[in-house]
Symmetry: none
Subunit: 204 residues, 4 copies
């Protein structure tokens, strides 16, 4: 077979992303289980079945693997929020997100990742990605709380900004519980959010 210069570009890119994702996945698993610092690159390599050289071929630094992970997570979140808002607004949008969030928490591979970041949070690049995601979520919540208040579907004795903070506390707290392998019962978070917002209880 004959290869023109750079011909196999498409195939290569495919392979490249496949392998990159495999490494990321293994890194995720180990970061979640042991935290960033206690996870060694050697161990990730072992788990991913690659050599150390390959790891650093894809990620110049162990930290860069974490950042890649966070970035893709943030991206997914943003995408998801957009998708939700395409279909629902107000309380419904928020509850839809709660549901999606609960699913994430249930995923055993994703729980525990909260702590992976500990100690590296202050690193500018990490902080940046985290902030981006936090901001996107905050705005989503605030935006839809405002709509809900206008529609009269939630309490109106507390300004949306404060309500948004409260909701995020619930989210973060629930995430942390999940991280501590305390099972979060399905629907629990949604109920809590409803109670907090003073919206009518579900009827399903």
């Amino acid at each position: 077979m004959h290869y023109a210069r750079g011909m196999a570009r498409t195939v290569d890119q495919h392979r490249y992303h496949e392998r990159r994702n495999a490494i990321l996945q293994e890194a995720h698993r180990q970061f979640s289980a042991s935290g960033f610092d206690r996870t060694t690159t050697a161990s990730i390599c072992r788990g991913a079945g690659i050599s150390s050289g390959t790891f650093f071929h894809y990620f110049p630094t162990k930290l860069d693997a974490l950042i890649g992970l966070l970035a893709s997570g943030a991206e997914a979140t943003v995408r998801q929020l957009a998708l939700i808002e395409q279909q629902q607004k107000g309380v419904d949008a928020i509850l839809a997100y709660v549901k999606a969030f609960e699913n994430e928490l249930t995923d055993p591979s994703y729980s525990g990742f909260v702590h992976a970041i500990a100690g590296v949070e202050q690193v500018p690049e990490v902080a940046g990605v985290l902030l981006d995601e936090a901001r996107a979520t905050s705005e989503f919540i605030t935006r839809n709380l405002a709509i809900a208040q206008e529609h009269g579907t939630i309490r109106d004795d507390v300004p949306v900004d404060r309500l948004a903070v409260w909701v995020r506390w619930l989210f973060d707290g629930a995430a942390q519980s999940a991280a501590e392998t305390i099972t979060v019962e399905a629907g629990g978070l949604a109920d809590a959010v409803r109670a907090l917002l003073g919206s009518p209880a579900r009827t399903d």
Copy 2:
């Protein structure tokens, strides 16, 4: 002057605890700022103005310093909860604890310690201390929520166990926000708890 044996020992014990506490305080500061793994014993020694030898004289292991810290924190919490329950019951007790908790969050030296534990949580000794404290708090909350429900001062459409979980989520979430140097405005957590519990808004 002549010192009786007992006296000298008392002085020694005093010195011992003083120094031990100084080390713990420095360890706390650094663990909070950089996390357990990224804090080196050398750096703690430097900050505490002692030699490495002295450090390991007081704590056989770096982890032991963390455990000492957690244990004293747990002890303080238990003491505090007991004190509160001596004076108040039901919602009032819970809100009193919320207030104390908020004070802790405001203390810049204490915020951030939440993450210090990351990666070491699974270590049996650490997990044990954490569990003890968590259990004490949980029981305190559940106990007083039950009383509150009996008194009709909070919603009764949700069982106390679930309410307790929700309250703890708020606590943990707020603590995490504080750790991320997002200022938690005074009284905010109390309001959120009231909203969640369906208890009447404060009038003070």
Copy 3:
């Protein structure tokens, strides 16, 4: 159009040498700037706009690139010395070489290469090339110093062998100064050589 085999080969050879030289040139630049060990093949490839595979296609080893460089330098020196001796003899020949040498030193790309070799000098292949060049130069100098002494144009109180050593010291010292980015003023070396040899000062 149709190309006869021989023709194609000529073209190929042309391309081959062109590329080889491009690599050598980039290697030279980087070796000069950072030394042999601190220059990475990856960096040379980047500078030359080629892939690592290509580099190792032309040079089986990083060291081989250095050797290629040294060899072509030695070859050039030998050619130059021969050329000079075709036209001049005695002091004039030496001074002509001094002039050529000074030109080389002035070339910013060539200065600094002196140190590139450090650490690899002892490697047989490297040592061989260096020795060949050093010997050629030494013999050239000695030969022409002898002629000069016969002609009475330089001091005769010191045997040519020792004079040759002295002259080479001046050369090497000047080269080193140039390498340390200390500008060597034009003609300075020639004057020094004249002073050392006791030959009459220039009158141009």
Copy 4:
């Protein structure tokens, strides 16, 4: 035996310097033999009979060991120049230094060190130390050449600044020859310097 706080200070300092020097000596030997980059800290440790931890206890970095070496060399040079000038002036001072310098070159342990620096010369700290030493030497030479010219003991057709440069070329060139394990015959450099300066030949 009873030790007061910090009692053994004197002994400790003694031991400290002894060991530090031992490491420095071993580093010197290996740097000289293989160059800075090709010398591994592990190899120095092996040679000095210490652990890697100890090495980095004395020198935070491999580079710092080199800098320590250069600094002590520069210091020694400065001390020596001062000593010489206490006893001699003019040509005599310069020739005294030449003699001392030749001795250094003869020392097999010291030859070759010239190249150890290659590749690291540009590092600010290294460059600084080197520059300090070079400046001290330059000034010493210039100063004494000026005196010599006043006394009429050397040629006066060339300004001292240029003569100083020439002399340094000879020095550097000779040092390089020595580094290339080409034996520099005793007195050779002195003769060359005399010839260059036009001072009367020695009569001893």
